[in-house]
Symmetry: C2
Subunit: 95 residues, 2 copies
């Protein structure tokens, strides 16, 4: 069962936010692609297992969806859970 708090917990970690940045820049990357580009472009030295667990967390929150193809697993960002999150407090406050 997926709850709202999972989205916030997934966004709490800076590495996971950078992963979402990467998938925003180039959608549908594999695990190894993400590892390589995080190291080069963002200067993060996270291991493969660490990033794999981060992707699991993001997938559990519904922010990342995956597609298997042979021995490759492609990761796609899904921004659907993002919008209603903040609107919760913006409705009455803004305008």
């Amino acid at each position: 069962m997926r709850v709202v708090g999972d989205v916030f917990k997934a966004l709490a970690d800076p590495t996971r936010r950078t992963i979402l940045d990467e998938l925003t820049d180039r959608d549908g990357q594999t695990l190894f692609e993400i590892c390589a580009r995080l190291a080069t472009k963002h200067g993060l030295g996270s291991s493969r297992q660490a990033i794999s667990q981060h992707l699991d967390t993001l997938e559990a929150a519904g922010l990342v969806e995956t597609r298997r193809e042979g021995r490759y697993k492609f990761h796609y960002i899904n921004t659907t859970p993002l919008e209603p999150i903040v609107q919760r407090w913006l409705r009455k406050g803004s305008r």
Copy 2:
């Protein structure tokens, strides 16, 4: 120094999100008011010190601003840091 990650960390805890709900419903409450209304309306049995620390976290993130008046300290919600947070990934992905 206030960083972007503080906002996400502040939103990661369900109790702090409920506090923001309460301040959205009635802005400018004191610490004891928030404690009482969290207990009655939301069924949360958090102690005074716990909520005080949560308010410190929210204030450090810029989501809550305070105003001293005598022995009372009023807490006001500030939704300004909220909007640019999610827009970061919604730009390219949605629409």
